[in-house]
Symmetry: C2
Subunit: 207 residues, 2 copies
Protein backbone atom coordinates (compact mmCIF):
# COMPACT_ATOMS: atom_id res chain seq x y z
CA UNK A 1 0.00 0.00 0.00
CA UNK A 2 1.30 3.40 -0.96
CA UNK A 3 2.52 5.74 1.76
CA UNK A 4 0.78 8.74 0.29
CA UNK A 5 -2.50 6.89 0.06
CA UNK A 6 -4.98 9.73 0.28
CA UNK A 7 -2.50 12.51 -0.21
CA UNK A 8 -3.79 15.50 -2.15
CA UNK A 9 -2.63 16.66 -5.55
CA UNK A 10 -0.32 19.67 -5.86
CA UNK A 11 -0.52 21.62 -9.11
CA UNK A 12 2.14 24.22 -9.86
CA UNK A 13 0.80 26.71 -12.38
CA UNK A 14 3.25 29.04 -14.07
CA UNK A 15 3.16 31.27 -17.11
CA UNK A 16 4.99 34.16 -18.67
CA UNK A 17 3.52 37.48 -17.53
CA UNK A 18 0.43 38.43 -19.52
CA UNK A 19 -0.65 34.86 -20.34
CA UNK A 20 -3.75 35.05 -18.15
CA UNK A 21 -2.82 32.91 -15.11
CA UNK A 22 -5.19 34.82 -12.82
CA UNK A 23 -8.12 34.68 -15.21
CA UNK A 24 -7.64 30.95 -15.74
CA UNK A 25 -7.47 30.39 -11.97
CA UNK A 26 -10.57 32.48 -11.36
CA UNK A 27 -12.54 30.48 -13.96
CA UNK A 28 -11.15 27.21 -12.63
CA UNK A 29 -12.48 28.03 -9.18
CA UNK A 30 -15.99 28.22 -10.64
CA UNK A 31 -15.67 24.70 -12.05
CA UNK A 32 -13.87 22.50 -9.54
CA UNK A 33 -13.01 22.61 -5.84
CA UNK A 34 -9.38 23.23 -4.93
CA UNK A 35 -7.29 25.11 -2.42
CA UNK A 36 -5.30 28.08 -3.54
CA UNK A 37 -2.44 29.39 -1.50
CA UNK A 38 -2.40 33.05 -0.55
CA UNK A 39 1.05 34.58 -0.94
CA UNK A 40 2.83 36.52 1.76
CA UNK A 41 4.40 39.89 1.07
CA UNK A 42 6.15 42.71 2.85
CA UNK A 43 4.91 45.40 0.51
CA UNK A 44 2.34 47.85 1.90
CA UNK A 45 -1.32 46.94 1.53
CA UNK A 46 -3.09 48.87 -1.26
CA UNK A 47 -6.57 50.38 -1.16
CA UNK A 48 -9.16 47.66 -1.82
CA UNK A 49 -6.86 44.80 -0.84
CA UNK A 50 -7.69 42.46 2.03
CA UNK A 51 -5.17 40.88 4.35
CA UNK A 52 -5.42 37.08 4.05
CA UNK A 53 -7.27 37.29 0.74
CA UNK A 54 -5.06 39.13 -1.73
CA UNK A 55 -1.93 38.55 0.32
CA UNK A 56 -0.82 38.07 3.87
CA UNK A 57 0.75 41.45 4.58
CA UNK A 58 3.63 41.02 7.02
CA UNK A 59 6.73 42.84 8.23
CA UNK A 60 10.25 42.22 6.97
CA UNK A 61 11.17 40.77 10.34
CA UNK A 62 8.28 38.28 10.25
CA UNK A 63 9.01 37.24 6.66
CA UNK A 64 12.68 36.72 7.45
CA UNK A 65 11.78 34.66 10.53
CA UNK A 66 9.54 32.48 8.31
CA UNK A 67 12.42 32.09 5.84
CA UNK A 68 14.86 31.04 8.59
CA UNK A 69 12.34 28.50 9.88
CA UNK A 70 11.92 27.08 6.36
CA UNK A 71 8.24 27.99 6.35
CA UNK A 72 8.37 29.69 2.95
CA UNK A 73 8.17 27.37 -0.05
CA UNK A 74 9.65 29.82 -2.52
CA UNK A 75 10.18 33.54 -2.50
CA UNK A 76 11.38 36.37 -4.60
CA UNK A 77 12.28 40.01 -4.04
CA UNK A 78 10.58 42.52 -6.29
CA UNK A 79 10.94 46.30 -5.95
CA UNK A 80 12.57 45.82 -2.56
CA UNK A 81 9.73 43.74 -1.09
CA UNK A 82 9.53 40.04 -0.31
CA UNK A 83 6.92 37.84 -1.98
CA UNK A 84 6.61 34.21 -0.96
CA UNK A 85 4.41 31.14 -0.59
CA UNK A 86 3.82 29.96 3.00
CA UNK A 87 4.53 26.29 3.40
CA UNK A 88 2.24 25.25 6.26
CA UNK A 89 -1.12 25.63 4.56
CA UNK A 90 0.08 23.63 1.53
CA UNK A 91 1.34 20.73 3.64
CA UNK A 92 -1.82 20.64 5.75
CA UNK A 93 -4.06 20.66 2.68
CA UNK A 94 -2.10 17.90 0.95
CA UNK A 95 -2.18 15.78 4.10
CA UNK A 96 -5.96 16.25 4.15
CA UNK A 97 -6.19 15.00 0.55
CA UNK A 98 -7.09 18.37 -0.99
CA UNK A 99 -6.19 19.50 -4.48
CA UNK A 100 -3.90 22.51 -4.15
CA UNK A 101 -3.09 24.89 -6.99
CA UNK A 102 -0.08 27.16 -6.54
CA UNK A 103 0.45 30.07 -8.86
CA UNK A 104 4.22 30.33 -8.93
CA UNK A 105 6.54 32.57 -10.92
CA UNK A 106 8.39 30.66 -13.63
CA UNK A 107 11.63 31.17 -11.70
CA UNK A 108 10.25 29.65 -8.49
CA UNK A 109 8.35 26.79 -10.13
CA UNK A 110 11.37 24.52 -10.36
CA UNK A 111 12.13 24.92 -6.65
CA UNK A 112 8.61 24.00 -5.58
CA UNK A 113 8.68 20.98 -7.86
CA UNK A 114 11.95 19.81 -6.33
CA UNK A 115 10.44 20.18 -2.83
CA UNK A 116 7.32 18.25 -3.91
CA UNK A 117 8.49 15.66 -6.43
CA UNK A 118 4.95 14.34 -6.89
CA UNK A 119 3.62 17.78 -7.77
CA UNK A 120 2.40 18.41 -11.29
CA UNK A 121 3.65 21.38 -13.32
CA UNK A 122 1.33 23.17 -15.72
CA UNK A 123 2.76 25.87 -17.95
CA UNK A 124 0.37 28.28 -19.57
CA UNK A 125 1.50 29.73 -22.90
CA UNK A 126 0.05 32.30 -25.28
CA UNK A 127 -1.06 31.07 -28.71
CA UNK A 128 1.85 33.09 -30.10
CA UNK A 129 4.30 35.73 -28.92
CA UNK A 130 2.52 38.19 -31.22
CA UNK A 131 -0.75 37.48 -29.43
CA UNK A 132 0.98 38.03 -26.08
CA UNK A 133 2.37 41.37 -27.22
CA UNK A 134 -1.09 42.38 -28.41
CA UNK A 135 -2.59 41.46 -25.02
CA UNK A 136 0.07 43.41 -23.14
CA UNK A 137 -0.63 46.47 -25.29
CA UNK A 138 -4.38 46.14 -24.88
CA UNK A 139 -4.45 45.84 -21.13
CA UNK A 140 -1.91 48.39 -20.04
CA UNK A 141 -0.92 51.95 -20.48
CA UNK A 142 2.72 50.96 -20.32
CA UNK A 143 5.39 52.63 -22.41
CA UNK A 144 6.83 50.94 -25.48
CA UNK A 145 10.01 50.36 -23.49
CA UNK A 146 8.16 48.63 -20.67
CA UNK A 147 6.26 46.43 -23.11
CA UNK A 148 9.48 45.43 -24.86
CA UNK A 149 11.06 44.66 -21.48
CA UNK A 150 8.10 42.44 -20.55
CA UNK A 151 8.34 40.67 -23.92
CA UNK A 152 12.05 39.98 -23.36
CA UNK A 153 11.24 38.49 -19.95
CA UNK A 154 8.38 36.43 -21.44
CA UNK A 155 10.66 35.06 -24.18
CA UNK A 156 13.15 33.96 -21.54
CA UNK A 157 10.40 32.41 -19.44
CA UNK A 158 9.12 30.45 -22.45
CA UNK A 159 12.36 28.46 -22.32
CA UNK A 160 11.17 26.84 -19.09
CA UNK A 161 8.00 25.44 -20.70
CA UNK A 162 9.41 21.99 -21.45
CA UNK A 163 10.41 21.55 -17.78
CA UNK A 164 6.73 21.43 -16.86
CA UNK A 165 4.61 18.28 -17.21
CA UNK A 166 1.83 19.93 -19.18
CA UNK A 167 1.59 22.85 -21.55
CA UNK A 168 -1.76 24.58 -21.86
CA UNK A 169 -2.26 27.08 -24.66
CA UNK A 170 -4.41 29.97 -23.50
CA UNK A 171 -6.05 30.86 -26.78
CA UNK A 172 -9.75 30.48 -25.93
CA UNK A 173 -10.03 30.93 -22.15
CA UNK A 174 -12.71 28.22 -21.84
CA UNK A 175 -10.53 25.66 -23.59
CA UNK A 176 -7.55 26.49 -21.39
CA UNK A 177 -9.67 26.10 -18.24
CA UNK A 178 -11.06 22.76 -19.50
CA UNK A 179 -7.49 21.62 -20.21
CA UNK A 180 -6.42 22.38 -16.63
CA UNK A 181 -9.55 20.62 -15.31
CA UNK A 182 -8.66 17.58 -17.42
CA UNK A 183 -5.09 17.59 -16.12
CA UNK A 184 -6.35 17.60 -12.53
CA UNK A 185 -8.91 14.87 -13.18
CA UNK A 186 -6.45 12.70 -15.10
CA UNK A 187 -3.67 13.11 -12.53
CA UNK A 188 -6.02 11.79 -9.87
CA UNK A 189 -6.34 8.62 -11.99
CA UNK A 190 -2.55 8.16 -12.30
CA UNK A 191 -1.75 4.62 -11.21
CA UNK A 192 1.14 6.00 -9.14
CA UNK A 193 -1.48 7.80 -7.03
CA UNK A 194 -3.98 4.91 -6.99
CA UNK A 195 -2.02 2.16 -5.25
CA UNK A 196 -4.36 2.21 -2.27
CA UNK A 197 -7.42 2.04 -4.51
CA UNK A 198 -6.16 -1.15 -6.10
CA UNK A 199 -5.39 -2.59 -2.68
CA UNK A 200 -8.94 -1.81 -1.62
CA UNK A 201 -10.48 -3.45 -4.69
CA UNK A 202 -8.36 -6.53 -4.12
CA UNK A 203 -8.96 -6.50 -0.40
CA UNK A 204 -12.62 -7.28 -0.90
CA UNK A 205 -11.63 -10.16 -3.12
CA UNK A 206 -9.59 -11.74 -0.39
CA UNK A 207 -11.85 -11.00 2.56
CA UNK B 1 11.46 20.35 -32.86
CA UNK B 2 10.10 16.97 -31.90
CA UNK B 3 10.13 14.18 -34.47
CA UNK B 4 6.61 13.09 -33.63
CA UNK B 5 5.31 16.63 -34.01
CA UNK B 6 1.70 16.02 -34.93
CA UNK B 7 1.62 12.34 -34.15
CA UNK B 8 -1.65 11.04 -32.75
CA UNK B 9 -2.26 9.68 -29.29
CA UNK B 10 -2.54 5.92 -28.72
CA UNK B 11 -4.64 4.81 -25.76
CA UNK B 12 -4.47 1.18 -24.67
CA UNK B 13 -7.60 0.32 -22.71
CA UNK B 14 -7.63 -2.90 -20.72
CA UNK B 15 -9.77 -4.33 -17.95
CA UNK B 16 -10.61 -7.57 -16.26
CA UNK B 17 -13.55 -9.26 -17.96
CA UNK B 18 -16.87 -7.87 -16.78
CA UNK B 19 -15.57 -4.38 -15.91
CA UNK B 20 -17.51 -2.73 -18.71
CA UNK B 21 -14.81 -1.92 -21.31
CA UNK B 22 -17.27 -2.05 -24.21
CA UNK B 23 -19.88 0.10 -22.50
CA UNK B 24 -17.26 2.72 -21.57
CA UNK B 25 -15.96 2.73 -25.15
CA UNK B 26 -19.46 3.06 -26.59
CA UNK B 27 -20.20 6.05 -24.33
CA UNK B 28 -16.80 7.57 -25.05
CA UNK B 29 -17.58 7.51 -28.76
CA UNK B 30 -20.59 9.72 -28.12
CA UNK B 31 -18.43 12.32 -26.39
CA UNK B 32 -15.16 12.65 -28.28
CA UNK B 33 -13.80 11.75 -31.70
CA UNK B 34 -11.32 8.89 -31.85
CA UNK B 35 -10.43 5.91 -34.01
CA UNK B 36 -11.08 2.47 -32.73
CA UNK B 37 -9.36 -0.53 -34.21
CA UNK B 38 -11.45 -3.42 -35.45
CA UNK B 39 -9.94 -6.77 -34.46
CA UNK B 40 -9.29 -9.59 -36.88
CA UNK B 41 -10.42 -13.13 -36.17
CA UNK B 42 -10.52 -16.54 -37.78
CA UNK B 43 -13.64 -17.64 -35.97
CA UNK B 44 -16.80 -17.98 -38.08
CA UNK B 45 -19.04 -14.94 -38.41
CA UNK B 46 -22.18 -15.12 -36.22
CA UNK B 47 -25.68 -14.07 -37.19
CA UNK B 48 -26.04 -10.31 -36.85
CA UNK B 49 -22.30 -9.61 -37.08
CA UNK B 50 -20.82 -7.47 -39.84
CA UNK B 51 -17.44 -8.04 -41.44
CA UNK B 52 -15.28 -4.94 -40.87
CA UNK B 53 -17.51 -3.70 -38.08
CA UNK B 54 -17.55 -6.33 -35.36
CA UNK B 55 -14.42 -8.02 -36.64
CA UNK B 56 -12.54 -8.60 -39.84
CA UNK B 57 -13.36 -12.25 -40.49
CA UNK B 58 -10.42 -13.92 -42.21
CA UNK B 59 -9.00 -17.37 -42.90
CA UNK B 60 -6.27 -19.03 -40.87
CA UNK B 61 -3.94 -18.76 -43.87
CA UNK B 62 -4.54 -15.00 -44.16
CA UNK B 63 -4.12 -14.43 -40.43
CA UNK B 64 -0.87 -16.41 -40.39
CA UNK B 65 0.42 -14.46 -43.39
CA UNK B 66 -0.35 -11.21 -41.51
CA UNK B 67 1.52 -12.57 -38.48
CA UNK B 68 4.58 -13.49 -40.55
CA UNK B 69 4.60 -10.06 -42.13
CA UNK B 70 4.43 -8.44 -38.66
CA UNK B 71 1.13 -6.81 -39.51
CA UNK B 72 -0.58 -7.96 -36.30
CA UNK B 73 0.10 -5.83 -33.23
CA UNK B 74 -0.88 -8.47 -30.72
CA UNK B 75 -2.85 -11.67 -30.93
CA UNK B 76 -4.20 -14.48 -28.87
CA UNK B 77 -5.73 -17.87 -29.55
CA UNK B 78 -9.07 -18.56 -27.93
CA UNK B 79 -11.12 -21.72 -28.49
CA UNK B 80 -8.88 -22.61 -31.40
CA UNK B 81 -9.36 -19.32 -33.26
CA UNK B 82 -7.00 -16.41 -33.75
CA UNK B 83 -7.91 -12.95 -32.48
CA UNK B 84 -5.60 -10.02 -33.25
CA UNK B 85 -5.22 -6.29 -33.81
CA UNK B 86 -4.13 -5.28 -37.32
CA UNK B 87 -1.19 -2.93 -37.25
CA UNK B 88 -1.60 -0.90 -40.44
CA UNK B 89 -4.68 1.08 -39.52
CA UNK B 90 -3.18 2.08 -36.17
CA UNK B 91 0.05 3.32 -37.71
CA UNK B 92 -1.76 5.23 -40.43
CA UNK B 93 -4.10 6.88 -37.93
CA UNK B 94 -1.26 7.87 -35.61
CA UNK B 95 0.70 9.31 -38.53
CA UNK B 96 -2.39 11.36 -39.42
CA UNK B 97 -2.54 12.73 -35.87
CA UNK B 98 -5.66 10.85 -34.82
CA UNK B 99 -6.48 9.69 -31.31
CA UNK B 100 -6.63 5.88 -31.39
CA UNK B 101 -8.16 3.77 -28.64
CA UNK B 102 -7.28 0.08 -28.61
CA UNK B 103 -9.23 -2.30 -26.47
CA UNK B 104 -6.63 -4.92 -25.60
CA UNK B 105 -6.76 -7.95 -23.35
CA UNK B 106 -4.74 -7.44 -20.18
CA UNK B 107 -2.24 -10.03 -21.39
CA UNK B 108 -1.65 -8.24 -24.72
CA UNK B 109 -1.56 -4.71 -23.28
CA UNK B 110 2.07 -4.87 -22.25
CA UNK B 111 3.17 -5.97 -25.73
CA UNK B 112 1.38 -3.10 -27.44
CA UNK B 113 2.85 -0.66 -24.99
CA UNK B 114 6.34 -1.97 -25.67
CA UNK B 115 5.75 -1.57 -29.43
CA UNK B 116 4.44 1.98 -28.90
CA UNK B 117 6.42 3.42 -25.98
CA UNK B 118 4.55 6.73 -26.18
CA UNK B 119 1.18 5.02 -25.88
CA UNK B 120 -0.89 5.58 -22.77
CA UNK B 121 -2.28 2.68 -20.76
CA UNK B 122 -5.65 2.96 -19.07
CA UNK B 123 -6.80 0.16 -16.79
CA UNK B 124 -10.45 -0.04 -15.91
CA UNK B 125 -11.27 -1.61 -12.54
CA UNK B 126 -14.49 -2.47 -10.76
CA UNK B 127 -15.26 -0.57 -7.55
CA UNK B 128 -14.68 -3.86 -5.73
CA UNK B 129 -14.31 -7.53 -6.57
CA UNK B 130 -17.67 -8.11 -4.91
CA UNK B 131 -19.27 -5.62 -7.30
CA UNK B 132 -17.62 -7.40 -10.23
CA UNK B 133 -18.97 -10.78 -9.09
CA UNK B 134 -22.44 -9.24 -8.75
CA UNK B 135 -22.22 -7.86 -12.30
CA UNK B 136 -21.09 -11.19 -13.70
CA UNK B 137 -24.02 -12.93 -12.01
CA UNK B 138 -26.50 -10.31 -13.19
CA UNK B 139 -25.57 -10.33 -16.84
CA UNK B 140 -25.10 -14.00 -17.56
CA UNK B 141 -26.70 -17.32 -17.14
CA UNK B 142 -23.33 -18.89 -16.46
CA UNK B 143 -22.85 -21.69 -14.01
CA UNK B 144 -21.36 -21.08 -10.57
CA UNK B 145 -18.21 -22.82 -11.78
CA UNK B 146 -17.89 -20.52 -14.80
CA UNK B 147 -18.41 -17.45 -12.65
CA UNK B 148 -15.76 -18.58 -10.18
CA UNK B 149 -13.39 -19.26 -13.08
CA UNK B 150 -13.99 -15.74 -14.44
CA UNK B 151 -13.38 -14.30 -10.97
CA UNK B 152 -10.08 -16.16 -10.68
CA UNK B 153 -8.99 -14.75 -14.05
CA UNK B 154 -10.12 -11.26 -13.03
CA UNK B 155 -8.15 -11.44 -9.77
CA UNK B 156 -5.04 -12.40 -11.73
CA UNK B 157 -5.64 -9.62 -14.22
CA UNK B 158 -5.96 -7.05 -11.42
CA UNK B 159 -2.28 -7.60 -10.69
CA UNK B 160 -1.44 -5.84 -13.96
CA UNK B 161 -3.23 -2.64 -12.96
CA UNK B 162 -0.16 -0.83 -11.67
CA UNK B 163 1.65 -1.41 -14.98
CA UNK B 164 -0.80 0.95 -16.64
CA UNK B 165 -0.45 4.73 -16.53
CA UNK B 166 -3.96 5.39 -15.32
CA UNK B 167 -6.52 3.51 -13.30
CA UNK B 168 -10.16 4.34 -13.85
CA UNK B 169 -12.73 2.96 -11.43
CA UNK B 170 -15.91 2.02 -13.24
CA UNK B 171 -18.40 2.64 -10.48
CA UNK B 172 -20.71 5.20 -12.07
CA UNK B 173 -20.38 4.77 -15.85
CA UNK B 174 -20.60 8.52 -16.51
CA UNK B 175 -17.70 9.24 -14.14
CA UNK B 176 -15.57 6.52 -15.70
CA UNK B 177 -16.21 7.93 -19.19
CA UNK B 178 -15.38 11.45 -18.00
CA UNK B 179 -12.17 10.11 -16.45
CA UNK B 180 -11.09 8.57 -19.76
CA UNK B 181 -11.99 11.82 -21.59
CA UNK B 182 -9.86 13.75 -19.09
CA UNK B 183 -6.94 11.36 -19.60
CA UNK B 184 -7.10 11.88 -23.37
CA UNK B 185 -7.41 15.65 -23.07
CA UNK B 186 -4.61 15.90 -20.48
CA UNK B 187 -2.27 13.61 -22.43
CA UNK B 188 -2.59 15.92 -25.43
CA UNK B 189 -1.26 18.71 -23.19
CA UNK B 190 1.76 16.68 -22.03
CA UNK B 191 4.85 18.78 -22.64
CA UNK B 192 6.56 15.73 -24.14
CA UNK B 193 3.92 15.86 -26.90
CA UNK B 194 3.93 19.65 -27.26
CA UNK B 195 7.49 20.37 -28.33
CA UNK B 196 6.38 21.58 -31.72
CA UNK B 197 3.74 23.83 -30.21
CA UNK B 198 6.37 25.61 -28.12
CA UNK B 199 8.57 25.93 -31.19
CA UNK B 200 5.68 27.53 -33.03
CA UNK B 201 4.93 30.00 -30.26
CA UNK B 202 8.59 30.98 -30.11
CA UNK B 203 8.93 31.04 -33.86
CA UNK B 204 6.61 34.01 -34.13
CA UNK B 205 8.69 35.79 -31.52
CA UNK B 206 11.81 35.50 -33.62
CA UNK B 207 10.30 36.09 -37.02
Amino acid sequence: MSGNANRGLLIVLSAPSGCGKDTVLAELQKKIPFKRSVSMTTRPIRPGEQDGVDYYFVTDAYFEKMLREDKILEHTIYSGHYYGTPRTAVDDWLAAGETVVLKIEVEGGGNVRRLYPDSVGVFLVPPSMQALEKRLRARSSESEEEIQSRMTIARNEMRFAMQYDYIVVNDRLEDAVDDVCAVIRAEKCKSSRCGNQISEVNHYAES
